[in-house]
Symmetry: none
Subunit: 173 residues, 4 copies
DNA sequence: GATGAATGAGAGTTCATTCAT
DNA sequence: TATGAATGAACTCTCATTCAT
């Protein structure tokens, strides 16, 4: 990948994330990336394919967080790790989550949260721990995590560590 | 308010809600409302003032849900009512919440959830009930409600009543 | 029809006729018509619908030439009139024929010559006059007229009247 | 000439012939030819020089048809050969004639028909055969041949042989 | 109050062409 | 010879907005 192509992706990601997809013009992307507008189309074909590229790149980065949970067998550890997930994202990955959520709202797409694949794993953990209604308990935990994520993405949580500790205590003590 | 003005507001609300603000053109609004494009500007001045009108109208409708909680003194009832809030919205009001959240994401506005005014009320309730960390407990409850709200708005919850019952049981038993 | 809409049609007709369809930009049309470029799209939707409008208008004008032949019963008069047709067009109508032929070549469309409807009429005339192979004779006459038309449109015929007289003599003496 | 250069010429000829000059982009030519876009400019300098190359190559091919007529002395044979000319072209040469005519219309160039050089020859033939107005007779024959050519190029003539026979009979019996 | 003509700015995209490799 | 990155100008078309009626 050439430097200019990289610049386009980065500039577009930032602008999409702060202004949204349709409010970001290709000319502004080109300007921010320091390239000619035509280059965007030479590399990506069209604006929405550029978005796809960005999205795919981000998904790729998030995948690294999954493996940590997938191979965990201790139910308590599964819960701990799924709760911690929103808090351990790097600033860059958090930024990508923001973009993902923002676009999900803009495009009416179901935000395919990166948590989803772990649903069954968590349900099983609750089952092993003997809770009353493991399916519902999982649902609710995921709603909670989504809510925290949204707050986190918009920097509405002041002391994230305290929240994390509180939750872990709530679910694992 | 003339019928045509009403039509504009309704058409715009629907289009903003499904396509977003900047992806909705005034010409499409006029077409859907069955009026000339110029009339939009005659009545509202510009596109974003039209949005403001819609938003204000919606807020007004939501206010009716507040009063029910504001004057509640029983702490357990406060909790019950705040938890039930997302589930008792009419379809129309739910639709407006969708719009509100969608726009909050599009505009980078802090989604001034209609729950917020009740924060202190809920915190006090938790205090009265003698929980360990009332502030944090309130935070978490609100994150959870936000998460449920988001899921509700996107029709991702199948059996809403079951979720409601589960939560009330969790917090009030 | 407003004056500006009229101007657009006229300007476009001239430019299409001299430069062809795809080599004529909407911005040049707007400039020549003295209107904003957007107005073209407000009135016609897109560039090719503008072309359709021009074409339809021209066809309409050419229709007036038809009726003269349609009701002719004398076979010799039919021949005389069909031969004279290319020579009696007004300058404006000739210009439109140029456009029509030019576009037929550009678009790979079969140039639906305005002569076609008279094919059977002419064949019948030849039959009445007792020629050997009326169908073929008609075909050839039409090829000839097409050739003359093409030459006429490109101003390659110096003394048109002489050609007309020669042909009438050839076919009717 | 390298294979790639050949491919460019062939691809361009086909595309110009079916879509016209200005509606054919160099990128499409490169794609069809299976070469990089830059190579077109390396070989031909610019798009219109590529066209010139194609045109010149085609003219060269058509020249072979001329010699047959140039050295003919029998006036009846001259007429026969000139009439037969449009019908004896190979499919490939016919395709080139199509391109030539199409471009003549697109560029407002006088279609330098390959017949022209024979004008005087034909006029002389008519003179020798003692027709009344040899100049005019030649003009008309050429108009007719142009008309037939146009029909032939657009595949509008079903039974070409019959037309040929009919004409030869008309002019030589 | 309501329309429809009109606009200028800017949208996404394609163009012929250049140039370093 | 051949490529592919890169460009700036031009393309068709849409935008929010104004204004005379």
């Amino acid at each position: 990948m050439t430097e200019k192509k990289r610049n386009i992706i980065d500039a577009a990601a930032q602008l999409f994330s702060s202004n949204g997809f349709s409010a970001t013009s290709t000319s502004k992307i080109a300007e921010k990336a320091g390239v000619s507008e035509g280059l965007i189309f030479r590399h990506f074909g069209n604006k929405s394919a550029l978005l796809d590229t960005i999205l795919a790149e981000g998904e790729q980065r998030l995948k690294s967080y999954y493996s940590d949970i997938v191979f965990e067998s201790d139910p308590r550890e599964v819960l701990r790790k799924i709760i911690e997930l929103p808090f351990v994202l790097t600033a860059e990955d958090l930024e990508f989550c923001r973009l993902q959520t923002k676009l999900a709202w803009e495009m009416n797409a179901t935000n395919s949260s990166h948590l989803k694949p772990h649903f069954l794993k968590v349900e099983l953990a609750f089952k092993k721990l003997g809770v009353d209604n493991p399916k519902m308990e999982t649902d609710v935990l995921f709603y909670l995590i989504e809510g925290i994520n949204a707050a986190l993405l918009n920097a509405k949580i002041e002391d994230a560590d305290a929240v994390k500790a509180f939750l872990i205590n709530k679910y694992l003590s």
